[in-house]
Amino acid sequence: MAAEDPAFAEWLAARQGTLLRTAYLVCGDRHTAEDLAQTAAAKLYLAWDRISARGNVDAYARRVIINEHNSLWRRPWKKREVVADELPEHGYVDHQRAPDEVAAVWTAVRALPPRQRAVVVLRYYEDLSEAEIAETLDVSAGTVKSQASRALATLRDRLGSAFDLEDLA
């Protein structure tokens, strides 16, 4: 282990914001996001020497978040946060677009099945390529395409007229 590794501390300080935000977008719940991000950081800490040497630290952290979220229910009595329909108390600040537009999109994204939501988050928030998403989710590029296509079709269906998403690919 990279005990008290300053490089890890530096990485965590620099990247924890993105880690927490990605976790939140994946799970839709603030407390679960904190748990996911901390678990990802802890596992990364344990594997720091190996992962940092490969230079794919962020990718590893994203994979842990996605996999941890997928396996959130493995433990029968692990304390869980149930995703609610309401928006979080900690609201967003949006100076350029009406909050109700953002809220509508976020509500629609949160309603997507988890794998489709993960694809959307990785594509449109993390700005990953199809290949990078496929690697993160451990699926084929074709699966990423099909999941993205289904997700966008759902978003168009739910938001099309209200949010002008007809031109999504």
Binding site: M1, Q38, P76, W106, Y125, L168
Partner: protein
């Protein structure tokens, strides 16, 4: 990403993620969690620090003639592996204390464990050191794998092994026949459910697109008559157990959260909406143990599956599996880790016997894979020395906890990593 709609979507995600703008990860908490993860990995002694400590080193080939080694189960002194235990200090060997000086002293804890009475070896099917051990004492050398074996069952005339490839990969179920040939391999849930009488088992598997199915088959069969239930949008499914109606109770993770379901593999699955999670099914009396979905905090409960009504509940407790005869149910007291284990009266929830393994013996355990019913009134618990840093090894030992409150060892203290075959 020049598409205006895509930019809107990106913007909405960025804005929504501002919910975490004031969140912060504490480096100390990350270290603590990392140490806890490492400690669990280092169950057992004598394995290299860089290795997956819990991994089972499995011999190269399945030697079919090994299966058939006859004889009654040998006592723990011979069935449990007994590699040299480099962590056992010579001082403790010469003058072991009666009790641990403190649970914080791993050497003293290990030495005190050695002083517990040693009973028979485990009387349930299990895997240890790359060998499948049947309850009747017959053994089979398992196929080679570098992965960590986290589950094992007997199906299709051979071992069904569950392995975890690494830190972030899911679980792989690999079915072998008696000759050692791999019959099939799928991704899925490491938990395999089995009926009370041991005749039916069920597992959950997914394909590359994430489409899941529950499969249920005859445990002694060759895969014939396998029933399949698709699990739709559920992202993760955990088979729990069979009711006396033949229904399988399972947990499913769906967008709205965890749900408990039951399926007869013919009609639409039904929701067991009294519970938000399930941990055991009493196939004799048609009861389910789990957690209630209402109220603050944890409330363990046993419900009647037919009426979906709680029979009793126990705030602050988590529940585990029912004894094979349905008389008892395992209880875990509180949200601490490791929690005290109790044998509860399944009819009333009253505590029959309670064991605080950390306080009394300085050991921890895995509640979801390390606690099984050996018979109708005794539990086997795969425990490991809790104390020590992540740089140290954590010797393990099987403990037998009885409804009369007694505790004995069912193995030597050492580096073995025990995986139990599914139990009701």
């Amino acid at each position: 990403m020049n598409n205006p709609a895509e930019r809107k979507l990106t913007h909405a995600l960025q804005a929504s993620s501002d919910a975490m703008a004031d969140a912060h990860l504490d480096l100390g908490a990350v270290h603590d969690q990392a140490h806890a993860i490492r400690r669990r990995r280092r169950i057992g002694a004598g394995l290299g620090a860089a290795a997956l400590v819990a991994a089972i080193a499995i011999p190269v080939t399945l030697i079919s003639q090994d299966f058939g080694n006859q004889g009654a189960p040998a006592p723990a002194t011979s069935t449990s592996p007994s590699p040299a235990d480099p962590t056992t200090p010579s001082e403790s060997e010469t003058s072991p204390p009666e009790t641990p000086e403190t649970p914080d002293d791993p050497n003293a804890v290990a030495a005190a464990l050695e002083q517990l009475p040693l009973g028979d070896g485990p009387q349930v099917a299990h895997v240890v050191d790359g060998t499948w051990h049947n309850a009747d004492g017959t053994t089979l050398t398992l196929p080679s794998t570098d992965a960590q074996v986290v589950g094992a069952a007997w199906y299709h005339g051979g071992p069904l092994l569950v392995t975890n490839e690494g830190e972030i990969a899911g679980s792989t179920l690999s079915q072998y026949d008696a000759s050692g040939a791999q019959v099939w391999q799928v991704e899925g849930n490491p938990r395999i459910a089995i009926s009370n009488e041991g005749t039916r088992l069920a597992w959950w598997q997914t394909d590359a697109d994430g489409n899941g199915e529950i499969h249920a088959g005859i445990a002694s069969g060759m895969g014939e008559g396998e029933a399949v239930q698709e699990t739709g949008d559920a992202t993760y499914v955990t088979p729990i157990g069979f009711a006396n109606t033949g229904e399988l109770v399972y947990m499913a993770a769906i967008d709205e959260g965890p749900v408990v379901m039951a399926t007869d593999f013919e009609g639409e699955p039904t929701r067991v909406n009294t519970l938000v999670s399930a941990s055991g099914v009493d196939g004799v009396n048609n009861r389910v143990a789990g957690e209630l979905g209402s109220g603050e905090g944890t409330t363990g409960a046993v419900i009647d599956l037919a009426s979906n009504e709680p029979l009793w509940s126990k705030p602050g407790w988590h529940l585990g599996a029912f004894s094979p005869d349905g008389r008892y149910v395992v209880g875990f007291k509180g949200d601490v880790d490791p929690a005290p284990i109790a044998i509860l009266d399944a009819e009333t929830g009253d505590v029959v016997a309670e064991f605080d393994l950390l306080t009394d013996h300085g050991v921890g355990y895995s509640f979801d894979t390390g606690v099984v019913w050996e018979d109708d009134s005794t539990l086997l618990v795969f425990t490991y020395v809790w104390a020590g840093t992540d740089a140290e090894d954590h010797p393990g030992v099987l403990l037998r906890l009885a409804a009369d409150g007694s505790v004995e060892r069912a193995s030597e203290v050492g580096s073995a990593f025990w995986v139990f075959a599914p139990r009701p």
